[in-house]
Symmetry: C2
Subunit: 374 residues, 2 copies
């Protein structure tokens, strides 16, 4: 974990591995990846279908460390004007300040302080760091944080007991179980034990069902996709009636992002590892949200001039010039895409910082709802 | 209801109004529509966005009684060869027979007969007809059917008591509440009271959430979209890697159909009333499922040569030549589209008969699951 230094990246990375589904796996930057980090850098292979998903787990990863702009030469590119940079770090900071104000008002008016409980099982250093960062973020806005640390060899029952205690604790308004859990535990059983009113991750199937259905309201919107949409809103980017393409269909980002865009009346297409000629579809999009974990996969030629690009990927690529020997890039080839798009999120500093801001937002929302405070 | 004579149409129509959401409304053929049936036939208005959805409720409906093939002239059309007709009536019959065999085997081996309970509140003639038809369908395959009839002025509590009784009754494996309910009742409260293990409609948000999530399995797949996919399977139409467009995003057909196609690895786009230039998107589709309730909306020019077309719409159009003064057409302009597509469902006789077959299938599935019978 010493390899990663920005809090936002750690927090985001953390979230990307917090899937409540054991099969959904968003291929974002995490320590497991770093361990398998390839020593050789190969060139970007163009293929007829996306190679993310299963294939990237079974074959050595293909890394593109930088993307030339030559592939965009045939496009309507104006090298003089670049896309507006969507500054997630600044927006996240604004949101944290707004949350802080609301929490003060809540405390003053009804004497309630929102509380977030995190359950950490085992001694993984990365997990400990993530939990520490969540605690820090809570501190800055005035949310009480609670923690239960259990030994690696705890039983599932012990974890369930802690969840049950937090479920019943009126000072706790949000509960997170830090993933991954030790392999002897059933993740789905444990996550399902968190009562839906405190499931600030928003990954409960009942919540996802409400998100999918017209006329129903989810209790919580999952943090990363909520952050993506919030960025669009804060930059006054219209969604209604627009063509939107989501790349990736994970339970934690791609799928809920698509449902959210549809709720806002976009016409949504989901591109995934089985999609043939994905670039044909992305080129039609007014808005692209990419969440696959393939460095620089979305080239400038994949982007319609004037499109808005939200890049959820955080991928390490080797970089001898960096003190750490690597740097982080998104799924979208930034240097190429910013010459074509009208707005783009950078990596890092785009979606990453929004995830934790949305976790704080969900915790506040939960406390307000439980105490019927407006 | 005397206006409609085929059982399949009635059953299908019935389902289209059985949304568990009060706001979602699939604009399919129902008696309310017939009452508002316009006396004048206007020509098909082309517009930049689909006019289904809200607009069709607030403005007089635009009816196209027949669609000329002139609009397909620019397309690669072979007038000699027509699309294969996907015979839903025959497939539904096959499925009923298969269900009958399974039910006999179950009865023989473990002495259990699947049971479907229907709750009917009030004196609507159409509802009574639908319930009668469900009962008939159950009889033909050997499913026991149970019925609770309550007076129009019953209380919500009385309905809830009946649901509770059926929830606890081990001889009942599926429960349907006939919609619409009298206006003094809260539909969502009542539908949510059906225990999820017996919710053979599959509209519970928890079920929809599981349908949306990778690695999760829904208990029941909603009947009409399940019927659409079953038709594709029975005709050996590949879905994986194909471009699929779903027209309409209702909770009961469009949205779950899109989720099902995605589970089968199609690349899915959802077109709806806010979509601009829908025909540009549908023209890219290998598979189109249309569920909007706009007669003949999907013209030949909207269809890619060789595409497969599944038409969920059942729409009445005036027809002086018919003894009843009207006939039923789908959302897809059949005469035009069959010259372009490789396969197409007719209306009636396509998706319609599949809905009731899938209801029987879900009831059998429920009984098998409850009694752990394979």
């Amino acid at each position: 974990m010493a390899l990663i230094d920005t809090a936002s990246t750690m927090i985001f990375t953390d979230y990307s591995s917090s899937s409540s589904s054991s099969t959904a796996r968003l291929l974002l930057f995490n320590t497991a990846k770093l361990r398998n980090f390839p020593k050789t850098i190969s060139t970007f292979r163009r293929s007829n279908s996306l190679q993310f998903g299963i294939s990237s787990r079974t074959s050595p990863r293909t890394i593109i460390t930088h993307c030339s702009s030559s592939s965009t030469s045939a496009m309507q590119v104006n090298n003089e004007t670049f896309a507006k940079v969507i500054d997630g770090k600044r927006v996240a900071q604004d949101i944290r300040e707004e949350i802080g104000v609301e929490i003060s008002r809540m405390k003053e008016e009804i004497g309630i302080v929102p509380g977030l409980a995190v359950i950490l099982v085992g001694d993984r250093k990365d997990s400990a760091t993530y939990v520490r960062n969540k605690k820090k973020a809570c501190d800055t806005v005035g949310i009480n944080s609670y923690e239960a640390r259990l030994a690696e060899d705890s039983t599932e029952e012990e974890v369930l007991n802690h969840i049950s205690k937090f479920n019943d604790d009126p000072s706790v308004h949000g509960i997170l179980v830090q993933l991954p859990l030790p392999s002897h535990m059933n993740e789905q059983n444990i996550l399902n034990a968190v009562c839906i009113e405190k499931d600030v991750d928003g990954f409960h199937p009942l919540n996802i069902g409400r998100l999918a259905m017209r006329g129903r309201e989810p209790l919580f919107v999952p943090c990363t996709p909520k952050g993506c949409i919030e960025l669009l809103h804060r930059y006054d980017i219209p969604i209604k009636g627009k063509r939107a393409v989501v790349i990736g269909r994970s339970n934690i980002v791609g799928m809920p992002a698509a449902l959210l865009l549809q709720r806002e009346d976009a016409t949504v297409s989901i591109v995934h590892s089985r999609t043939k000629n994905p670039e044909e579809i992305t080129r039609q999009a007014d808005i692209i949200i990419s969440a696959v974990g393939q460095p620089n996969m979305v080239r400038g030629s994949w982007v319609k001039p004037g499109a808005v690009l939200i890049d959820v990927g955080i991928n390490p690529v080797e970089d001898p010039a960096s003190p750490r020997g690597y740097r982080l890039v998104g799924d979208i080839c930034y240097d190429e895409a910013r010459k074509v798009a009208s707005a783009i999120t950078p990596v890092p500093g785009g979606v990453g910082p929004m995830t934790i801001a949305m976790l704080l937002s969900n915790t506040l929302l939960s406390a307000k709802r439980i105490h019927n405070f407006r």
